[in-house]
Symmetry: C2
Subunit: 440 residues, 2 copies
């Protein structure tokens, strides 16, 4: 992408209404613009990050055997009356009347709708187990939206729903999503610690939150440093291995972690002091096993192996996709701007000419841009008519993993500069070597 043809407005100053670093950086680096209280437009660079996060979430859901679909944003109030949640849900539910004066709502979650869809089409235990998910915009009418996309009103969520014939099956589905979550967050380049949680308005008795440490987090968290050493992606664990999944769950359950809501001082005292980690955290995922709460209230039954009718056991599994953009920035930035993990960076390489009026520099940049693009590498080429220092500042701000900088003096000696955004390390090397490193 040529910056001169993109839409990437960067700001020198932080807007005064942004209180936390991720919100400030998302505005300054041109990821989002607020269009109404707690509602944001995703500009091209923000949209690229959002898509990359969504794609990793999708790939790990697919790998775990969940099936993608898409439910609509607006729902009929009647569905929510069947579960009893329409009246129970507070003013965070955005209630709407259509032109025929029918009660609708902007879905904050989809337990009722998926149960209704399942009820309409699934009749036999042979169609179980099944986990369905979608990645769709939700709305929660927060009384005081703040912190940018971290606590917005319209937000993108991945929510999955599992249906099993019995509790053992439902627990296996729960463990499957637990592993999928651990893998997902690791691939996103952040440490999200699973914590036993109270289940709140979803109901049920088994629930974990996934919390990213950040000073601006909403809740206080406590965990054993062992969580920092687990490598979930490397766990040679198959989703077909029920015993292995159960062992994973035991490992997560027996290693101490808690929010202030569930914190247990007695158990905390048993954790060796050098392994105690405390801080504030941001919730980026939440999973629930809630048994027959919705299937029973909404009359979902399937015929069992012996012909009798059975009420399926359900769970639901959320990831805050748009919130993750903020959470990743909270966890990964420095004084100059964002430092994207490579897996979610909007582009891998920023290509900069220090002198846009130097013919040789421009020619070299065009050549490198073509070669990297042809090799399938995502490049943002800053071809604007700006001073070199301004371009380098923008590149640090938007935080691409690599900067390839072309200056007239270096070029005369056949070298360019390659800078790693995370470490700040710069090396001078030939164009060919730089290309080789970036395409390796």
């Amino acid at each position: 992408m040529r910056l001169s043809r993109c839409f990437l407005p960067v700001m020198k100053e932080s807007p005064s209404d942004a209180q936390i670093v991720s919100h400030k950086l998302m505005l300054r680096a041109g990821l989002v613009r607020q269009t109404a209280a707690g509602i944001y437009a995703w500009l091209p660079i923000g949209w690229r990050v959002l898509q990359k996060i969504g794609q990793i979430v999708r790939e790990e859901q697919d790998r775990a055997g969940a099936i993608e679909m898409l439910m609509p944003t607006l729902q009929s109030a009647d569905l929510w009356r069947q579960s009893g949640r329409y009246d129970a849900y507070g003013p965070e539910m955005l209630r709407i009347k259509d032109r025929h004066d029918r009660d609708m709502l902007y879905g904050p979650t989809n337990e009722e709708m998926i149960t209704d869809l399942f009820r309409g089409d699934v009749k036999s235990y042979r169609d179980l187990p099944r986990t369905l998910y979608h990645i769709q915009w939700k709305f929660r009418d927060e009384v005081r939206p703040r912190f940018g996309v971290m606590r917005g009103r319209e937000f993108l969520m991945k929510d999955a729903y599992s249906f099993d014939i019995d509790e053992a099956g439902a627990r296996n589905s729960y463990y499957t999503q637990l592993l999928a979550y651990l893998r997902t967050f690791q691939r996103l380049g952040i440490r999200a610690v699973p914590m036993k949680a109270a289940s709140g308005p979803i109901g049920g008795d088994l629930s974990h939150e996934f919390i990213v440490l950040a000073p601006t987090g909403e809740s206080e968290v406590f965990y054993d440093a062992a969580f920092e050493e687990f490598d979930w992606a490397q766990e040679a664990l198959s989703y077909d291995d029920a015993d292995g999944l159960k062992a994973l769950f035991e490992k997560v359950s027996t290693t101490y972690s808690a929010t202030d809501e569930t914190h247990d001082e007695a158990r905390w005292a048993e954790v060796s002091p050098d392994r105690r980690r405390e801080g504030r955290g941001i919730e980026v995922g939440h999973i629930f096993y809630f048994g027959d709460k919705y299937s029973a209230s909404m009359g979902l039954k399937v015929s069992g192996p012996d012909g009798s009718m059975v009420t399926p056991q359900m769970g639901s599994y959320g990831i805050g996709v748009s919130r993750l953009v903020g959470a990743i920035i909270e966890a990964s930035h420095d004084e100059n701007g964002i430092v994207w993990p490579e897996t979610v960076a909007p582009w891998k390489v920023g290509l900069v000419t220090m002198r846009g009026d130097d013919e040789a520099s421009v020619q070299a940049a065009e050549d490198i841009y073509k070669k990297l693009t042809a090799a399938g590498i995502e490049v943002l080429y800053d071809d604007r008519d700006e001073r070199g220092g301004v371009k380098l500042g923008s590149m640090d701000l938007i935080g691409l993993p690599w900067q390839l900088v072309i200056g007239p003096r270096g070029l005369a000696q056949g070298v360019v500069e390659l800078k790693c955004r995370r470490t700040g390390e710069k090396v001078e090397l030939s164009i060919d070597s730089a290309l080789e490193r970036l395409t390796a």
Copy 2:
């Protein structure tokens, strides 16, 4: 994908409320389920088609230099008051009050919002021309939603917006999108004829609709058969070639096409009778050049080359992505079900064992499934415990381009059957030859 682990409920009978063939087939083949009047959930197979269509639209927008972003579904009424459309828009606009009693709406289109975003960040003619687009859910509160996703209330639309410094630039942006549309529809496997249109509530004096012929279409259309012979994808036309784009526009404008709204009997009489095509059509895209209608009313100005302030010229460009699923089915089906164009088919190959209880058949199917998947071919493997005839019926209904059928008798002789869904042609050939054909 193994059908036994998917969520693909097929129905033998057409639901009685479905009046047109695409709606019937979308319900029977398990693409969608209605969740409220004019609102649909996209089940896995429907979601796959929707994504494929969206991806082709996206690729052709990107190729034409448009930049993707994402605007939110809910908008502030204040934005629409600035353009004067809030009061002008009829009851099709879904008006919403949030918990603080602020006037909101579910966006039916985004001219106001994109103009506002542009106004906030673009200050100079050097940032023009620019075309931005998003693929996002919209809402129009139709008084009588019908025909399934063809005239639903919540629908997925691609809408692009162009900003230029003058009319010549704006016309070039318009011609660029015109070509992108012709290429897009051709890649989707449908013939969409561009027709000069009245511009309606968007405003402006230059506008084309893109119409797919189908007996259930809403409007009557007339066009010169020359449109059936143009090959837009093959046109050696570069988006950088302004003269070539203008010539394309002239070619489209001088070849007769019209809806009943714009039909001109005198010009029609000049078309040679054997080239006159008449029928009903479905609108799948609509493009508009409307000058400064929104930039002027909303106060968008940029500094021009000579320092004076200039009001940019704008256009907008819509494609009905969810409607296209229905339109493609209207244009491509037979008495047994859907016949997907290969570019948008949910899977390329349906793999069927005639006898699920025959060990050798199952082994062969598993082996073929692995090999095709490893080769990157999308396969739906019907591994259900059903009679062969039922499976074949389902495959015809859901309309994948190729069916690979394994029967015990053929297998004993080392052959399988490969059926082309579109032509019905069946050939017996060795497994290796079948794999070779499908992966070629």
